[in-house]
């Protein structure tokens, strides 16, 4: 029993030293103040902002797993869907989920797929996208507002057919996967534009084709460190 008692005495004597070392390490990391019941760091008001943010991670869009779908009303009857499969660009996402993500997304117009080759040529031709003059569609975010549960209203400049106008997209965070050295993040953005606002108004007046276009963009990016 004695020896055990001696060991206890020794451990209790070095405990304050360990705590000091741990406190110093946390202090160096800007996390002075200890931990909450859930293990999350608690900020000390004197040394850190009230709502600390994590530095956003940079992601490069993975063209294989990104695509932009569009939907338009055809002759006042059915909804017609098509897609662009060459989507490139960058985005940022902070793991704390508080920082507004940013996006710079470029779509190659000639990558359109409607399911019919001739219709593809019509869509990218001078009647609609005029891809020989306007090769890309681009969205560059300028700000945003969190709606909770991983959903944001992201505002940005949307350029199509040579015309740039502000739009607001509903962007939903769809997941973060990977490990400390390799990560993938995903988002899905939905928004609507009036194509006539972008000078693409063939068939609007005679209702051959609707004016409102819904876009659904699936994004997946690789962490670039």
């Amino acid at each position: 029993m004695r020896p055990r008692s001696t060991r206890r005495s020794t451990r209790s004597s070095i405990r304050p030293v360990r705590c000091l070392i741990a406190a110093a390490a946390l202090g160096g990391a800007g996390l002075v103040g200890g931990f909450t019941a859930t293990g999350q760091p608690v900020a000390a008001a004197a040394t850190a902002p009230a709502n600390p943010t994590v530095a956003p991670l940079q992601f490069k869009l993975d063209p294989v797993h990104c695509m932009a779908l569009f939907r338009i009303h055809h002759v006042g009857a059915g909804q017609f869907w098509g897609m662009f499969d060459q989507v490139e660009g960058t985005m940022t996402y902070a793991e704390d989920g508080k920082t507004v993500p940013t996006f710079d997304v470029t779509v190659q117009v000639e990558s359109v797929h409607s399911g019919t080759e001739k219709l593809d040529r019509t869509i990218i031709g001078p009647q609609f996208f005029n891809a020989k003059e306007y090769e890309t569609i681009r969205f560059v975010s300028t700000g945003g507002e969190s709606k909770g549960d991983g959903v944001w209203d992201i505002t940005g400049d949307f350029t199509m057919h040579g015309v740039t106008r502000p739009v607001t997209a509903k962007v939903e965070f769809t997941g973060l996967a990977g490990n400390p050295v390799q990560k993938k993040a995903g988002f899905e953005a939905t928004f609507e534009v009036k194509r006539s606002d972008y000078g693409m108004d063939w068939g609007v007046k005679n209702k051959a084709l609707g004016d409102d276009v819904r876009l659904v963009v699936g994004l997946e990016g690789d962490w670039t460190r």
Binding site: H74, V75, G115, T116, E117, K118, L119, R121, T122, I124, G125, P126, Q127, N130, A131, K132, E133, G162, G199, D201, W202, G203, N206, A208, L209
Partner: protein, 305 residues
Amino acid sequence: MIKTVIFSMILPVLAGGGLVALCWLLPPLRKWRWLSSACFGLALAVGVFASFVAENGVPPFPPAERAQWLGFAAVLAAVFAILGPMTGSADRDRKWPATELVAFLAGAIVAGLPLIAELAGGEAKSMFSGTGPADQIAMGLAVALGFLALDKVVEARPGVTLPLALFITFAALAPIADAASWITLTFLAAVSAGVSLVAALSARFGGGPSIGRGGLLAAIVLLVVFPVAGYRQTYGEFPWWVWGVAAGAPIVLLPLENPWVAKLPPWAGLTLRLCCVAALAGFAVVVAIQSGAGGDELNDYGGFN
């Protein structure tokens, strides 16, 4: 779809065709030589511009998009239609200005259109995607050479020959433009064909007037601009020369102005001339449609209309 056809094709044909029919069928107007020589070109210009506006609205000048040059091709056709008869006509002394000078000036204007746009405050970019100064000069040369070649035919063949040859040519360009999936250009070619057909009927019953230098210049401008625009602005899956063969089909009328063909009865000579034009234009259409349809089982569903 019906609305589109009415506004983009039928009404423009009625506007342009009505103009040429009035000028060639109404005796008081028919006697006015300048108008008789200018009206076919003006009719083409009115029809094409009306169709373009129905499809795309009034284009700004300088054009904001290259495809809008099609609308201004119609305006240029109207200018040439008005000025052409002033340089002489088939039934007037044409010693001056020389045919070559007219051809050179017309070609220079077409080649210099981007510079004109720049002077008007725009950007001096070439008319169509992927074209440069060399293409502009080539277009000017095509207008000049086309005029030199067909001016002799205009002089020798008043009446239905040229309107019918132009009808066949424009009628061939329409399905080629459709194969390239450009609806506006399809309508413009179809309207030009419709106006030419009305002109041919009016010539048949109106004493066989000539389309004159004005009509010829207007038609040539359209026959040069349409195929270049179609080739440069679209993604047609047929060879580039298809556009050239179709648009250049009327040139075959020049070698047919020879003593052997001249000895044929009028109906046989007319039939031979039109068959030659139709053979070239028809060949181009067949190649375009077959190339465009290859490997596309859902071809019939193409187009938004």
